[in-house]
């Protein structure tokens, strides 16, 4: 097992480095005039602390634009391994600092979403599986498919339009209200949660479809298994059959499915955060990338790649932990 793990981790690291190299190469496609433009902007925005030429040489040096792609990439790598990802061009702060300030909002939002998702999807999926081909099943299937087919930005805009603009129940955007600073800590928490309702609702709606269908498929597979027939034949109550025998066995594929949620959880929801203006990592990264903030884009991409690799490794481990059969193989 440990041998397998070590091989898996080394492979993951190789993939991350290669992926970062590919991304770096794409960034290097930006025309040279782009760096000059950025240098000019910096020289203007920093009130002559550094001149244009100083900025230009510095940017060229830091991002290895004055050398070949490989040399530049390895220079970036050498800095990155030491934890130095450079300064974000958009936020004028070290990338890691920007990251620290924004990541937890995304995580908070996604954890709430995740809990909500579990609470909705598992009962719905089980219900649909138990009453296969019934009206309930069809309704749930159509609902799940509709959720999968919904464009995230459309759903977010619809929710904003009907619940915020028309009914005025929820704030339009932002994370805190106007009077946030004069509130007690309890009220502040409440205010933040109140502002998170619509984004969480959006994210939950978007993810419900996939998970519900997954639960339903797995449940059906389990319900057709011999041991369920045996359990029923023993005369066990239906409740026990479903909750104890069937449901527990659906957890195996579910766990692997959930490990893929890790990149989502920490990577932020770019579009939803952008529409609701939640200052999470998704929105921060989106804003940085559309303005061509190379240091932040590099950092964010590598961060996402690390998350993906970790989630894959965790999925492998979880399989082994949850399902003893895997350990044997």
């Amino acid at each position: 097992m440990s041998k397998f793990l070590i091989r898996r981790i080394i492979l993951g690291i190789c993939i991350i480095i290669l992926g970062a190299l590919v991304f770096y190469a794409i960034i290097r496609c930006l025309p040279a005039s782009y760096i000059e433009k950025m240098a000019r902007q910096f020289a203007a925005s920093t009130n002559g602390r550094k001149t244009y030429t100083e900025w230009l040489t510095e940017l060229n040096h830091v991002y290895g634009m004055d050398s070949g792609i490989l040399t530049g990439f390895f220079r970036w790598c050498a800095n990155a391994i030491r934890g130095d990802f450079g300064d974000s061009w958009k936020y004028m702060k070290p990338v890691t600092e920007v990251f620290r300030d924004s990541i937890w909002w995304s995580v908070l939002m996604n954890i709430i979403t995740f809990v909500l998702e579990i609470l909705i999807c598992i009962p719905l999926g089980i219900l649909a599986a138990r009453k296969q081909y019934s009206k309930t099943d069809y309704t749930i299937t159509v609902f799940a498919l509709a959720c999968i087919s919904l464009p995230s930005f459309y759903l977010a805009t619809l929710l904003k339009y009907f619940l915020s603009v028309k009914l005025g129940w929820f704030p339009l955007y932002g994370l805190t209200g106007r009077l946030f600073n004069s509130m007690t800590p309890m009220q502040q928490t409440g205010d933040i949660l109140y502002h998170l309702v619509l984004p969480v609702l959006t994210l939950a709606m978007l993810s419900i479809g996939g998970l519900t269908r997954y639960v339903r498929t797995n449940m059906l597979e389990v319900l057709n298994a011999d041991y369920i027939r045996t359990a029923r034949a023993k005369g066990l109550p239906e409740k026990v059959v479903i909750n104890k025998h069937a449901f527990r066995n659906t957890l195996i594929p579910l766990v692997s499915y959930m490990s893929f949620l890790l990149p989502n959880m920490f990577g932020g929801a770019m579009i939803t955060e952008e529409i609701f203006q939640i200052p999470g990592i998704g929105r921060i990264a989106y804003q940085a990338m559309i303005t061509g903030d190379i240091p932040f884009a590099m950092f964010y991409t590598v961060f996402l790649m690390i998350l993906t690799q970790i989630s894959l490794i965790i999925a492998d481990i979880m399989y082994a932990v949850v399902d003893p059969r895997v350990r044997v193989n």
Binding site: L11, I15, I16, L18, G19, V22, F23, I26, I27, C29, L30, P31, S33, Y34, A129, Q132, Y138, T141, V142, L145, A146, I148, S149, L150, P151, S152, F153, Y154, T157, L158, K160, Y161, V165, L172, R216, T217, L220, E221, G267, M270, I271, I275, A285, Y286, M289, I290, G292, A297, Y300, T301, L304, M305, T308, Q309
Partner: protein
């Protein structure tokens, strides 16, 4: 993979054909594809999805043919707004009319104003009085021609140098005045230091005397070359417009007015003067062609031509203080106007037609879904947008499937190190995060200023290159599991050709999976394209896509006030993707009844 299904004919048919119960002809064997079709048709959701897709295709690909509008046609509406047409004010500025070839610079103008206001000479002026002033080493003589309603009319003439004397002796004299008589008179005047007389009459001449330091200068008043009045000459007919600035003409007018004549002749035309209470009308052949009044009226915009009717009526209205009036403009059209007094200026406003873009206009018979925030017909844009969205979906999915089948096939067929290498490539492509990549590529394309169509194709390539891994995995997995199956081992044992092995056995077995994957993939690619359009990374104007139409809703004003712009576009995306998912689901069930859950 597909179990054969046996369908028995109805008993009625049996009786008609008269087959025996065990007759083999009684048993109708359906082909596998027919069975798939039958199972698909039996699935209600799949049929709904199929109908949705057909409707969407008709809407997107046939709709634009019947749409009366083109993709980027802008719509405008006429709007009438009160706009300033002309301005008028009571004139308080002197009106200088300068003879041809003569210059009366602004320095001289101010000196003139000082001289006539009595600040230098210090005396009240009457008709016929003269005042002289100097400006920039030139001497001028002002004659008061007239006082009309307390407003003077001046004639200004320059002077002609005659002689100068220094210390009682003439040191310079123009040869034409160099006669003994004049010389004697001038010398006498020059010697008389006490004399303050500014004129000196010698024979027929009246010389003007002025002293500059110790030099005494004798000059002869020249002809009048500038007329100054507080009157405004308004030509009612364009033909007469140049005359209002013509010195000779204006001089003739004042001459006639001064001598109380009712008509005068100028340039072969007889002008009749009619004095009303407030203004003087000049007419030719009984038609009023010019007004001399104290109201100055001018067009607000240089290209407007003011009609005579307007000038007459406007000056009357300004005098009477009425607010609304109507006039016939230079295009012989009746126009309503109103007048506003602001700060001593009268603004004549007319309701003028201007073209406004029909921006975010609600649904109407001409535009069933209204217009978008650029002023284009939304229904037409949605049709063309559907073309782009569906086309992108098909092209990308085809590209993805092609790449996926080739790479997955090679990987599965050759196995060993090829398989390992290709699967690591799949891992690598999978690891590259989609949105950061596409956003950076979008900004690269922005900086390279790529055109709308090229951008669309590059976008499709990028989505395809990042998205083929799923299909490659599926194909590889399918091939690997097929190779393990007994019937494949059996065919291999018979020494089948590789090409036959692939096309007779592999492809038909992989096909159902590919079709299902492609159908579901179409939905997700359309979603992806819409998301990119929404983020502003997708197709650019003048092209349209459903996502880029919803992009307009990022503007709060459009989102809250113009639901018809973004709600239908989103609904179309939702319905289309749902259609693909229904059909994909139905196909999967139809292909593989054992897997149906």
């Amino acid at each position: 993979m597909n179990t054969e299904e046996i369908k028995t004919n109805s008993s009625q048919e049996t009786q008609e054909n008269g087959y025996a119960l065990d007759d083999a002809r009684r048993i109708k064997v359906l082909s596998p594809s027919m069975m798939v079709f039958k199972r698909f048709v039996r699935n209600k959701l799949a049929i709904v999805g199929f109908v949705i897709l057909v409707v969407m295709f008709i809407f997107s690909f046939l709709g634009p043919i019947f749409s009366p509008y083109s993709i980027a046609q802008l719509f405008t509406k006429d709007s009438y707004e009160w706009k300033t047409y002309a301005t008028g004010r009571y004139n308080t500025d002197p009106n200088y009319i300068v003879a041809d070839g003569y210059d009366f610079p602004s320095g001289a103008r101010s000196q003139f104003l000082l001289a006539v206001s009595g600040k230098t000479g210090g005396k009240e002026l009457n008709i016929g009085d003269t005042v002289s002033f100097e400006s920039n080493n030139a001497n001028y003589t002002v004659t008061v021609l007239d006082f009309k309603d307390g407003k003077p009319v001046y004639a200004i003439g320059g002077t002609e140098f005659v002689a100068s004397a220094l210390l009682g002796k003439i040191n310079k004299i123009e040869p034409e005045f160099d006669t003994p008589e004049i010389r004697e008179a001038l010398t006498a005047r020059a010697a008389d230091k006490k004399s303050k007389e500014t004129t000196l009459e010698v024979g027929d001449y009246t010389f003007q005397v002025s002293s500059v330091a110790k030099e005494i200068v004798f000059e002869l008043a020249g002809e009048d070359s500038v007329l100054v009045s507080y009157d405004v000459f308004l030509a009612l007919d364009n033909e007469y417009e140049p005359l209002t600035r013509n010195f000779e003409f204006v001089k003739a007018v004042y001459k006639a007015a001064g001598e109380d004549e009712t008509s005068f002749e100028y340039d072969g035309k007889v002008f009749e003067l009619t004095e009303t209470e407030t203004e003087t009308e000049l007419s030719v052949d009984g038609e009023v062609v010019m007004l001399i009044s104290d109201i100055n009226i001018g067009a607000y915009q240089t290209d407007t031509v003011l009609s005579s009717d307007f000038l007459l009526k406007a000056s009357e209205v300004i005098r009477t203080g009425a607010a609304d009036f109507s006039f016939t403009d230079s295009n012989e059209e009746e126009v309503n106007a109103r007048i506003n007094l602001v700060n001593g200026n009268y603004y004549v406003e007319t309701a003028q037609k201007s073209q406004l873009l029909l921006v975010a206009e609600g649904p109407s018979p001409e535009h069933p879904l209204g217009t978008d925030s650029y002023g284009m017909d939304l229904l037409t844009r949605l049709m063309y947008g559907g073309r782009v969205s569906l086309m992108v979906g098909f092209v990308v999915v085809f590209f993805e499937t092609f790449l996926g089948v080739i790479i997955g096939g090679i990987s599965g067929y050759f196995g060993r190190w090829t398989d390992t290498a290709l699967m690591r490539l799949v891992d690598l492509v999978n690891a590259i995060p989609f949105y950061p990549t596409i956003i950076i590529i979008g900004s690269v394309l922005d900086h390279l200023k790529v055109g709308a169509t090229a951008r669309l194709f590059l976008l499709m390539v990028v989505i395809g290159v990042l998205g083929w891994t799923g299909i490659a995995r599926v194909v590889r997995g399918q091939i690997l599991s097929l190779r393990e199956q007994d019937f494949m081992i059996a065919t291999e044992a018979t020494g089948i050709k590789t090409s036959k092995w692939i096309f007779r056995h592999l492809v038909p077995n992989v096909m159902p999976l590919l079709i299902v994957n492609a159908t579901m993939g179409l939905g997700s690619v359309i979603l992806l394209e819409a998301t990119l359009g929404f983020l502003g990374l997708g197709v650019k104007y003048p092209m349209a896509s459903w996502g880029s139409i919803i992009n307009q809703a990022t503007d709060m004003h459009i989102m809250t006030n113009a639901w018809w712009i973004w709600i239908p576009a989103g609904a179309l995306i939702l319905i289309t993707v749902l259609g693909f998912n229904f059909v994909g689901d139905g196909l999967r069930d139809a292909f593989d009844p054992k897997m149906k859950r």
